[in-house]
């Protein structure tokens, strides 16, 4: 199966397959986080606390699996944490109308601090759990090359990609999506048509927060199978950036996530195969290319006009 060590060229089929399979896998937490954030932002609420919610989701699900051994209870724990954090963010930014950027940063620090504290008190040291195992999808996984790239991943990876069409349908094909976007673009108009602006925002923020918690769980239960303080190392913020990158469109967000993770997988392979470039340069690549793509991509933006603006009846 493995080619002998003599052939270390990066331009080989097994390497390309390795890069693409890793890219699909690595995109998972970014997809959950960014697609969820896109739903929240479409309703006009910028939630910068994604990374903090991810950390709490990652810890809660990890801890439940560590103590009960049940992956599904772990996922349930993430959903509960995501719901609570979503309601908290909504309370602060929708009901109390606090500055969204600042309260999001507050939420992030709360998540970072609380997850570290709970980890230290309840677990104490790094432990691993048995996470979601790769599932070979019957027939499809046997297709040469494509099977290995697309159809031999663990369940959270498939679900993350499934959220893309689901979010697209929700936002672009349902009345609910219309309401979310109306509330995000012109809450006063939506209000005058009888849409409950605050309720729509509460629900959108909470959906986004649940997906952020699932992003965390996908890390601790599928990609690394453990929890460590600050496990996400800022992934949630990249998730927020991907929302802008994708212009609030789920499919374009997926494109951004895949670009980022493909370049990241590529640079790791370059290092493994000893391609002569400095490692500092290699680790910069995903970020540099993402910024370049952001600057050069045609502007597909559909930024919610009321993003970051609390809704007050009778004010414009």
């Amino acid at each position: 199966m493995y080619q002998p060590a003599t052939d270390t060229s990066i331009f080989r089929l097994p390497v390309a397959v390795g890069i693409l399979a890793a890219a699909i896998r690595m995109a998972t937490p970014y997809l959950f986080a960014a697609v969820g954030e896109a739903i929240s932002q479409s309703s006009g609420v910028l939630n910068l606390g994604v990374d903090g919610v991810m950390l709490l989701g990652a810890f809660a699900s990890f801890y439940v699996v560590l103590t009960t051994g049940s992956l599904w209870l772990g996922v349930l724990a993430a959903v509960i944490v995501g719901t609570l954090m979503g309601l908290l963010m909504s309370l602060i930014s929708v009901t109390l109308k606090a500055e969204q950027g600042i309260s999001g940063i507050g939420l992030y620090m709360f998540g970072l601090g609380l997850s570290s504290l709970l980890f230290k008190v309840m677990v104490g040291t790094v432990k691993t759990v048995v996470g979601f195992q790769p599932i070979k999808i019957p027939f499809l996984s046997n297709i040469p090359i494509l099977g290995e790239i697309f159809f031999q991943h663990s369940l959270p990876v498939y679900v993350a990609f499934l959220t893309v069409p689901l979010a697209w349908i929700l936002l672009d094909k349902t009345t609910w999506g219309l309401k979310i976007k109306a509330v995000g673009h012109n809450p006063a108009a939506a209000d005058s048509l009888g849409v409950n602006v605050n309720l729509v925002r509460y629900i959108s923020v909470t959906i986004g927060s649940i997906m952020a918690a699932l992003a965390g769980a996908s890390l601790s239960l599928a990609l690394v199978n453990l929890f460590q303080e600050n496990l996400t190392a800022g992934m949630g913020f990249i998730g927020v950036a991907l929302v802008y990158f994708g212009g609030w469109r789920p499919v374009a967000i997926m494109g951004g996530a895949l670009l980022f993770s493909t370049v990241n997988a590529f640079q790791l392979w370059m290092q493994v195969l000893n391609v002569k470039i400095p490692s500092d340069l290699a680790v910069m690549l995903p970020y540099v290319l993402t910024i370049a793509a952001l600057a050069l991509a045609p502007k597909l933006m559909r930024q919610p006009i009321a993003l970051n603006k609390p809704f007050e009846r009778g004010e414009h």
Binding site: S116, F119, L226, N230, W269
Partner: protein, 328 residues
């Protein structure tokens, strides 16, 4: 009990408490503060120093004899510098700045507190100050030993190294490891990845998965993020792991072969002893295999073939008696 009786009891209790605290103050415990870049439970750099302090505290007789204050996750140097200054001004006897990135802060702060002992590492520079100790670990030595054993165990002849940033003891450990492997079989390929971060666990895990996909059956690495690599190796099942800084066997007893462990106890004891005799610094300490500061901890749960263990022991002996020279 009536109110008057209650007051008398309360007064008596307060008196006892005051007497107790006065007598405790008279014993004046040694106060040590430490500032660390990661967490006390990182299974690596910070934990190695924190557990050494805890061990000394236990040996000296607990909190009444020695007090430990710590600031962890101080990855921002200005925050760390503020903490170092804070501890010094609170009158701590020994302030440990546990991170090579804290050097210039210590050099700035130490002259202002001539009665305080400062220690920082990993480095060998005391900045010519009489109250600064520098400490480091000759990580290349254990790296070499791990490399020798790894070379004996690899079947695919491909070994992966997952590093954080190419500096400090991460760099010297890897350099020693590569030399150890080459001393057994120069045809073995050692691939290295650097993630550019000491704390990005997810990227470290992906780096390990990439090594495994490229054929590696033995992995090693440095920093607190390697728990990600170990997790990835565990998931694959047949991949072996060599640790450094801290005994990493508890994370994955079935695949950790051996770990180089930093044992800071002896140098900390030396600093405490020196301080009692009025010496506050001006010296550098280096952990070596020969002075017991570095230890190779074999994982008892891993069935290491006798020939591989013999090769490892021979390397330890050779480095300790100077017949094998490992340059970083």
């Amino acid at each position: 009990m009536n109110f008057r009786g209650f007051k008398i009891v309360a007064l008596a209790l307060a008196l006892v408490a005051t007497t107790l605290s006065v007598s405790a103050a008279q014993a004046a415990p040694l106060r040590i503060a430490i500032v660390m870049p990661s967490s006390t439970t990182d299974m690596a750099f910070s934990q190695s120093m924190f557990s050494a302090l805890k061990a000394i505290q236990k040996e000296m007789g607990g909190e009444s004899a020695m007090k430990i204050a710590y600031s962890e996750n101080m990855y921002k140097v200005p925050d760390a510098a503020a903490a170092i200054r804070d501890y010094a001004s609170q009158g701590f006897d020994i302030v440990i700045a546990h991170g090579s990135q804290y050097g210039s802060s210590v050099a700035d702060i130490a002259p202002e507190f001539p009665k305080t002992t400062f220690a920082w590492g990993t480095d060998v520079n005391t900045f010519g100050q009489p109250n600064i100790y520098a400490y480091t670990a000759a990580a290349e030595e254990g790296g070499y030993v791990n490399g020798v054993i790894a070379a004996k165990l690899t079947k695919s002849k491909v070994i992966g190294v997952t590093g954080p940033v190419e500096i400090g003891d991460a760099k010297t450990y890897v350099s020693g490891f590569v030399k150890g492997v080459a001393s057994v079989d120069p045809s073995i390929r050692v691939s290295k990845t650097w993630t550019g971060s000491f704390s990005n666990v997810a990227l470290m895990a992906e780096a390990a998965k990439t090594h495994i996909a490229a054929g590696a059956d033995v992995l090693t690495g440095s920093s607190q993020a390697v728990v990600g690599s170990i997790g990835a190796a565990k998931e694959k099942g047949h991949v072996l792991w060599f640790g450094t800084q801290q005994d990493e066997a508890p994370i994955a007893p079935e695949l950790v072969v051996a770990s180089q462990q930093y044992d800071w106890v002896s140098i900390l004891k030396q600093m405490i002893k020196d301080r009692k005799q009025g010496k506050l610094g001006g010296e550098k300490f280096v952990l070596h295999l020969s002075n017991g500061g570095l230890k190779i901890v074999y994982n008892p749960k891993f069935k290491l073939p006798a020939s591989a263990k013999a090769a490892g022991d021979k390397a330890i002996q050779g480095i300790s008696n100077g017949s094998i020279k490992v340059t970083p």
